[in-house]
């Protein structure tokens, strides 16, 4: 992928992530302050298309954003280059997407 595309993807996902992270942190505060139990939280998230979309988008954006950033750091600070670095970047993205998807499914799927 061209550097311009990677740059665009990283900035676009950053734009998406910024508000999502704030909402996510706000939610944690509200849930903790409000003394919600795990069962009460799951009661609200299970079967909710809204929460599935919210956290699905979050995971997707993070899975694109983080590997590109990490690739840049590796590129700048080590001599690792070329196809193997590209494959490692993709593998990290897939790993994050897979782990994230598992977590999203765990809170939104109806058992």
């Amino acid at each position: 992928m061209s550097p311009a595309r990677l740059y665009l993807l990283q900035r676009a996902t950053a734009l998406i992530l910024a508000p999502l992270v704030l909402v996510h942190l706000g939610l944690i505060l509200i849930a903790v302050e409000g003394g919600l139990t795990a069962a009460e939280i799951l009661g609200r998230t299970r079967g909710s298309v809204g929460w599935a979309a919210f956290y699905g988008l979050f995971v997707l954006a993070a899975a694109i954003h983080a590997p590109i950033g990490l690739r840049n750091v590796i590129h700048e600070h080590t001599s690792w280059r070329g196809r193997s670095l590209g494959f490692a970047t993709i593998a990290l993205g897939l790993l994050l997407a897979g782990l994230g998807a598992r977590a999203v499914i765990a809170v939104v799927a109806v058992p």
Binding site: S2, P3, A4, R5, L6, Y7, L8, N72, H75, E76, H77, R81
Partner: protein, 246 residues
């Protein structure tokens, strides 16, 4: 200040001797009014260390060949007054420029610097010959103004030495080459502006810049390569969606 008093005042000047391996050698140099760092280096070579290697040509801030690291910062030495950099203790530490291979003492090899200009396609592609009439270019057009803002580069490599990304990533083209590319992208007379944009946005190009502005901070002629690089980023993104350049 009288000349006699000046002569008694001495600067303590540490100068790098050697290549990658080497040491600092300290010289006591007479402090004069309106003395530049290049004057100090020249005094040392003429009076104390005839084998000292360094580079200069114009002595008036035009040729861009005299850049060195002075008290930790890259500077054009012919236009840097000692009084501005030496402090009350009258100490100077003079080293070769960062981020370039050293040759000897204060002289570095600028080959990688100019190779990067070529990789960024930092050269004009003509569309006319001398028989053609002059191209009419409006000095008021936004593109020409953008080109003019970056055109006075003297190729001194001060920004290249000041840029941390150049130090980290040997592939990075660096601020000077990208600044040059930006002037060409905005030059309506250039015959391959799209080629310049693509060269400047390829691997190691404009998208590697961290926008931290060290190049702007140090450029002795007051150019703003960071702004030009931001322009290149913007244009290359527009080019992705097909609204870049002719």
């Amino acid at each position: 200040m009288t000349a006699a008093r000046d002569e008694r005042e001495r600067l303590s000047v540490e100068v790098w001797r050697g290549r990658d391996e080497g040491r600092f050698e300290t010289f006591a140099v007479p402090h004069r009014a309106n003395q530049t760092v290049l004057d100090v280096v020249t005094w040392i070579q003429r009076h104390a260390a005839p084998a000292l290697a360094y580079r200069f040509a114009c002595r008036v801030g035009v040729c861009g060949s005299c850049a060195m690291t002075v008290n930790g910062r890259p500077r054009w030495t012919c236009r840097t007054h000692v009084s501005k950099v030496a402090g009350a203790d009258r100490r100077l530490r003079i080293e070769p420029l960062r981020n370039l291979p050293r040759i000897k003492d204060l002289a570095v090899d600028l080959t990688p610097f100019f190779e990067k200009w070529q990789r960024a396609q930092g050269r004009f592609t003509p569309t006319r010959n001398r028989a053609d009439p002059l191209a009419p270019v409006s000095p008021e057009s936004p593109a020409r103004k953008a080109a003019d803002a970056g055109i006075e580069c003297i190729n001194c490599a001060v920004c290249h030495a000041a840029c941390d990304v150049v130090g980290w990533d040997p592939d990075y083209l660096g601020p000077a080459a990208l600044n040059r590319a930006w002037t060409l992208v905005n030059d309506e007379r250039d015959g391959d502006r799209r080629g310049v944009l693509q060269a400047a946005a390829a691997g190691g190009g404009c998208h590697s810049c961290h926008t931290h502005g060290s190049c702007v901070e140090h450029c002795p002629v007051g150019l703003n390569p960071t702004a030009g690089i931001a322009g290149l980023k913007r244009r290359s993104l527009l080019d992705l969606v097909g609204s870049g350049l002719p």
